[in-house]
Amino acid sequence: MCSLSLFPSPTAAGHTLYEHNNELVLGDPIKQEYDLPSPQFIRDSLKGHSRPDSSSKSAFLDHRDTLWMRSAGAWRDSGLYGLLDEITDSAEEVPRWLAVGSGCLQALLHWVSSFHGSLFPHLTLSGDEMVAEFSQMLDWSDSALRSFAWHPHTDKFAVALLDDSIKIYKSRSSTAPTLKHRCQRSVCALQWKPLCGSALAVACQTCLLIWHVDPTSLSTRPSSGCAQVLSHPGHAPITSIAWSPTGTLLVSASPVDTAMMVWDVAAENCVPLQRVGGGGITYLSWSPDGSRLLAATPSPLFRVWETRMWTCERWPCLTGRCQSGCWSPDGSCLLFSIQGERLIYALTFSDLTGGPKTATVVADLSETTFTGPDGDIIVGGEVRSLSWDPRGERLAVLLKEME
């Protein structure tokens, strides 16, 4: 078992730029050592959108509309709940039985949803809170950077910022296209399509966006016509996406939907894969060889799908939900972490022996104190995100900040 005390001592001064031959290289981020842009984002210069839907509505809507108009508007904006609210609120205009009936129905629905929420507490969270809870990013709701993705084949990366824009940086290029779209809100995950130069999938609050950014174009603001909008009723907010390594399929997951969607992106059709239990899907990770897919749920349970006939194995965890996971390059070993534990587990899959029975602990991340020249540094904690490099030599672990 691996533990943090085996690592060389980190230094508090300066920025750690990268790791090279088991040494952490420090440096000034402004100075260019590699030919890659190093943009700086200041938290205060980016304004997050504060547009709660309900507060602005009452300021602009003309309240002297007829009941029919208001009901139709409520139905359009927020469905059955909105309609019932509207009817109950305007009790003096509607027949008494209708107001009472809608009130009762509303109470019943509330009761049912609270029962559902007591089974799956995450369903009571609002959209943004849910994204912040299940994001792989540290401090999602307040950080300037909300998501990050390297292109799998070339020196190019995309960052999603607090103001709901996405910027794309390339080596040897000064143009940094900014992507903005009406539907692009609360970006939780980004991923470049493998075996493609241009397509970027974005998981948003209400839908899935596929941007096609022409790499040869000099435009800094690609129009929203370059984006494909994929959505499915009941499948939002989307907190995780995963392209198949062959670049043909895209899987998306939402914590409120028990089905994960397998998209044929170009044809814009999707196949829902539903399994009972778990209450939703929070995190997806496709093994690099394309044979397996990890799907974590908000409950102490995760599934491992095999991607040939799309059947799944259930893996109940004992203590908490699976927060993050990653695959070895040959797809035979899965590392994952569980919320509330400072451990990394491993599962080894094999086509011959029929698969593992239990997970083994491979790393212990409990707090360790390093004594350096600048004083003591304490490192350790829960895992927020895991990533294994494509050659299989190194594992990057993002730890949750300590209280």
Partner: protein, 654 residues
């Protein structure tokens, strides 16, 4: 189609049995849906327990058993029609006229008739099951004079007619929404899970379809219900009960229980049909594993290389291509068989046959695209001019004629036409048969390609009797002017109308030409359809691309004898040529516009986006090869132009 002698072994041994299995499952599921229907039709909030016990006793009643037998007959018939009508390549009518043609096709008429009958049968069963006031056509009633006679039970008749209506609308929508088009799912799943996953969609579609049908039928019955009622009552000598409100009136139709029962029965009807179709789709598209090679020569036609070259049995070709795409991704042992050499002689027969077939498929698509581009390039300009001359002759032609209509309006007044007289002949007599639409409309047996239809479309064929009979001499004299002389028609005072505004109505004696223009408009109104029709069978090309690119990529590490190397230049250049053709196709107007998504319809609209899927699959395939081979591609002998294109892929600039 079902004459077994002409059919290949695949139809006889595989497809028929799959169809039989799907029908068997629909028959097995029938009692379940019937029981649910019985429960919903008799449920009452006041006496839930009593209603439950009533339902269970009714389930074993002889009338219910008889109904089930009738319903089984309906399911068998539906299964037969599924097998007879299913298609892997959708027929995409390129115009409203062609769509009308398919709807009025004799084959389709027979289909509609059979479905009307089946709808009536199912509705008869459901009315017997619901019982009460619906059960029989004749009911005893007391007329004014006080004697007891048999009266017409209008509720029963209403349900029966609604069954016929729903049967017809199923058949009609089947054409419009391509319900018999069988598409393949992007992922493989076991049949049970696939069925389970699609079941909510089937129920939702049935309920919505039933709602629409009930609404439409109620409207229809309100206006025309009197006729069948009078006819039935006079033929069967049944009285009309005057004590009950007639159903073709507002008070009669505003009957909640009647509407509920109509809705429930309609849902049951649609669910029965949709489940049969769904099971058929799932069974037919199930992957079939062909052996790559066989040790016995007499089994050669069962093997993958032979199945791929099949021309007549499309389903076998498709399944073989799907199998190729799957094995190239998932099955190392079968890939090894493809890369192997023949035992005496040492020839890579398997690989040669597979790659040759895939490449010929791709080059056929390239030719088709190039031909279409040529047709558009030569026709587009002429077409737009003929459109403008329509406008100037004072008829209502809107600007949806062609993409070239985006030209500014003013310069056109001064452009003299270079091909007077021939314009109309070229652009519209040739219209139905021209290279632009006809070869790309798969349904060539449409009656509208017959001379009768050309006559109907108002084109002037000198041989046809229509020519002399209806066209007045005045029109005849003006004829050439109408189609050619846009400049002249301006100078002699006819107002230069803008294409969008509706100009003054044409005089009466111009009616045939107006009809012709109206037809012309209808015929050209689906611009996206020609693009869809071009790519209608592209699922095959997508699999060929996936299969061959995966095989080439894995050959980098798995091909021991280097059999793939010999064909690599060929493969690369045909992929690049296809990419150029596809890119040029997407520059055409309407080619890159996204189709409107139809929700809540059971018909599969996958074919509408196949061209985008093909483009994505093509680019991914080229990337797969370039990423795997990398710098080694520089050693492959291909032309400089293609190398330049591939270099862009190597630099991720596509």
């Amino acid at each position: 189609m079902l004459s077994l002698k002409q059919n290949s072994w695949f139809i006889r041994k595989i497809v028929i049995w799959r169809a039989v299995a799907s029908v068997a499952w629909s028959v097995i599921l029938l009692p379940v849906t019937a029981a649910l229907f019985l429960f919903f039709s008799r449920f009452s909030f006041c006496h839930p327990i009593q209603c439950l016990s009533e339902c269970t006793s009714l389930l074993t009643a002889s009338s219910t058993i008889f109904c089930l037998v009738v319903l089984c007959g309906v399911v068998l018939m539906t299964g037969f029609f599924n097998l007879e009508f299913y298609t892997l390549v959708p027929s995409i009518p390129c115009s409203r006229i062609a769509l009308l043609g398919t709807v009025l096709h004799p084959r389709q008429c027979v289909h509609s008739l059979v479905y009307c009958t089946m709808g009536m049968l199912v509705m008869w069963c459901s009315s017997v099951t619901i019982g009460g006031r619906y059960s029989t056509l004749g009911t005893p009633c007391r007329i004014e004079s006080g004697e007891l006679v048999t009266c017409l039970n209008e509720y029963h008749l209403f349900l029966l007619l609604s069954g016929a209506f729903m049967g017809y609308s199923y058949s009609f929508l089947g054409v419009v929404q391509n319900i018999y088009y069988v598409s393949f799912q992007p992922i493989q799943q076991y049949k049970y899970l696939c069925f389970k996953g699609s079941l909510p969609m089937v129920v939702k579609c049935s309920v919505i379809q039933s709602l629409y049908s009930a609404r439409n039928f109620a409207a229809l019955y309100f206006f025309f219900g009197y006729a069948p009622k009078a006819w039935i009552s006079s033929t069967l000598n049944l009285q009309i009960d005057s004590s009950l409100p007639p159903l073709d009136s507002l008070t009669g139709l505003l009957d909640f229980s009647l509407f509920y029962h109509l809705l429930i029965s309609g849902t049951f009807l649609y669910i029965t049909w949709y489940i049969t179709v769904l099971l058929f789709r799932i069974y037919v598209t199930e992957a079939y594993s062909f052996p790559v090679q066989s040790t016995f020569t007499e089994d050669a036609e069962l093997c993958l290389p032979k199945a791929l070259t099949e021309k007549n049995t499309l389903v076998m070709k498709f399944l073989a291509l799907q199998d190729l795409a799957l094995l190239s991704q998932h099955s190392p042992t079968r890939r090894l068989e493809i890369f192997s050499l023949s035992q005496p002689g040492g020839h890579p027969h398997n690989w040669n046959a597979l790659s040759k077939e895939c490449l010929s498929l791709l080059s056929e698509l390239t030719h088709r695209l190039v031909a279409h581009q040529d047709a558009v390039a030569s026709n587009g300009r002429v077409k737009s001019q003929s459109a403008s001359s329509y406008t100037k002759s004072g008829s209502s032609v809107s600007s949806v004629m062609s993409g070239a209509e985006d030209l500014p309006e003013t310069p056109r007044h001064n452009i003299p036409l270079r091909t007077p007289g021939s314009v109309f002949l070229k652009s519209s007599v040739g219209g139905v048969h021209s290279a632009l639409t006809a070869p790309f409309t798969p349904d060539l047996d449409s009656p509208f390609s017959s001379p009768a239809i050309r006559r109907l479309a108002g084109q002037m064929e000198p041989q046809s009797p229509w020519f002399g009979a209806v066209q007045s001499p005045h029109i005849m004299r003006r004829g050439p002017k109408l189609w050619s002389a846009s400049t002249e028609s301006q100078t002699n005072g006819s107002p230069p109308a803008s294409p969008v505004s509706v100009p003054s109505p044409p005089p009466d004696n111009q009616k045939p030409s107006f009809l012709a223009q109206w037809m012309q408009k209808r015929r050209d109104q689906l611009p996206e359809a020609s693009s869809q029709a071009l790519f209608a069978d592209s699922q095959a090309h997508i699999w060929a691309l996936q299969g061959i690119s995966h095989l080439v990529a894995t050959s980098f590490s798995e091909d021991q004898f280097g059999v793939v190397q010999t064909t690599l230049p060929n493969i690369l250049s045909s992929l690049v040529i296809l990419l150029e053709a596809v890119d040029r196709h997407f520059k055409l107007p309407h080619a890159s516009s996204k189709p409107v998504r139809t929700t809540f319809s059971f018909g599969d609209s996958t074919y509408k986006t196949l061209r985008f899927a093909l483009r994505a699959a093509l680019k991914t395939s080229i990337y797969r090869i370039t990423i795997t081979f990398g710098e080694h591609l520089n050693a492959v002998k291909i032309s400089a132009e293609h190398r330049k294109k591939l270099q862009q892929f190597l630099e991720f600039k596509e």
